[in-house]
Symmetry: C2
Amino acid sequence: MTVSISDVAKLANVSISTVSRVINRPSLVNAQTRERVQSAINELGYHPNAFARGLMLRKSEMIGLVLPDMHGEFYSEIIRGANLKARDLGYNLIISSAHDPDDMHSLLDGVRQRRIMDGVAVMVAEVTDHIQKSLGELHLPFVVIDSDIDGVAHDSVTIDQREGARAMMRHLLDECGAKRIVFVGGLETNVDTMARLDAYRVILAERGITPTDDDVHHLDYQYETAYAFGKEHLRNWVGAGNCVFAANDEMASGIIDAAYALDIKVPKEIAVVGFDDTRIARMTRPPLTTVRVPMALMGATAIELLCKRLADPEIAEQRVSLRPQLITRRSCGGGGGSGSDRA
Amino acid sequence: MTVSISDVAKLANVSISTVSRVINRPSLVNAQTRERVQSAINELGYHPNAFARGLMLRKSEMIGLVLPDMHGEFYSEIIRGANLKARDLGYNLIISSAHDPDDMHSLLDGVRQRRIMDGVAVMVAEVTDHIQKSLGELHLPFVVIDSDIDGVAHDSVTIDQREGARAMMRHLLDECGAKRIVFVGGLETNVDTMARLDAYRVILAERGITPTDDDVHHLDYQYETAYAFGKEHLRNWVGAGNCVFAANDEMASGIIDAAYALDIKVPKEIAVVGFDDTRIARMTRPPLTTVRVPMALMGATAIELLCKRLADPEIAEQRVSLRPQLITRRSCGGGGGSGSDRA
DNA sequence: TTGTAAGCGTTATCAT
DNA sequence: ATGATAACGCTTACAA
């Protein structure tokens, strides 16, 4: 049933080494025999056994993509970009996601144990000692997506979150004449939220503004949560020049819908902006001013960095920071025009 | 650096076969030696080499998930469900998606050639001769997601699209008093669209209604396309008791937004309903009446079927049909209440 | 109960 | 330019 290298050898009347050469270093074999072997290969429909190959070469042409979660467009776009690039480069992608933050550890442990992947791209959304330790013990080339981790040498691809958040803050303050900006983030431990919040504080500080306790809130990135939260608090925030800066589009969408339910006009009575520029940003009413995060590119870049390292393990640490882009639409009341698209 | 079975054997003062037995059939080895070997394993942090193992056992504990595309929540939810289940069952998931329908063939070809996966789950959205042929030649256990393919024995998991579409049509006609229903589908070759359209026609026929040419349209499942299309045609469709049945939520959302842009009230002047119950169904204004498709469950079920077959190749063909569920919200004007959730 | 030895299908190192 | 042959790390008869 299954045809092996020796079958080919027999049919072509050569030794298995010659067949192997035809496959791996064709230049080393005489044109005539090469052709003979090649047609034997075709005739039998021979393909090298990947296991045997992996056993010898200690590589599989497979790389892992480990994610902390798989809900939402953010993750699926990363997967999409990574998958495309991996295929381009001749690699297969093994994907797995953790049930919860702690689970990440056991996942990486599994990766380390099976060592069937040539390398792995790991998205780290919350940096914990656990994960840091797991990565340190990986003994496998890896690239970190969305974080830089102290004390461990590694390649990484991140978004310049601060730059994106700063651009948004400046737009709000300078173009839209915002007076008060309420920040609605994800969990406090979330690296994205941390960076965005930091930029929020920095820009505010530059203007001599100190946010109050009622100006900074931590939710969980979910539409429903933000909707409920908005219903409860939006009335306190209403006012000309006031504004909600949500740390992702889903929450922004929830806030907008809450405003709608409370009959509060967006952006007239309160502006709302988001982050990520997922598909829903064009589907809110009004369309959402947000910061475009190149999600698929991030996935693709991660794979690219990883493969470069696999090709040459000696190269210097690579740290790529991708630039996000401010997309202004109508939800902020400002000059909603720079966005090329409008719904 | 890398510790092998013979290292363990040496340390435990046994032969490698004993070590192998401790790992694979512990009952065959004396409790004392077993313990000795086990602690040697622990001490050295030994894990069997997956390649060598695969070479002997002809299996890898890896299964493929091949998708026609990766855009949108539908696919990402399938991946999520599949990934969860695969992990539960101790398998790794290798994911790949085709650039375009034809590309599917080369993808499956790659799967066949490397034969490093124990089996593969293939989502087939458009049945072509090409794909049918590829599957026929796979020589690998596989399960088809979202289609049943003639002339090839296979397991499959599908959605009872017709049942879902019928439920929607009945709701529209009986509960909402719909008079005219415009169907906006995806590509004519898309299996989902075909099934949904078929149910649409059947139910209409039952009522003695024959849809006109202006009642059935084929777009591409995209929000933007539907938005543009809606802007162009919505005026012709307006009327009490009139209704647009979009074959997915994205298009329904586009239609709703087009109505909004034209100042046409939904559902008062025209009702709009969708299909799938993706996240955006709760985010349209008004929230969307739709048919919930258990996407993650579909992915999980596919993996489950596949693993059952791997465990016992002799079992009879398994064909699972998942039931979709009508979710009524406010976009259809009917008794928008059965939906447990509302935005 | 344990050990010996023969594969599994490759690639790589020698000779020739 | 080609062919023997020894790894690679494991499982599994078969012997002891």
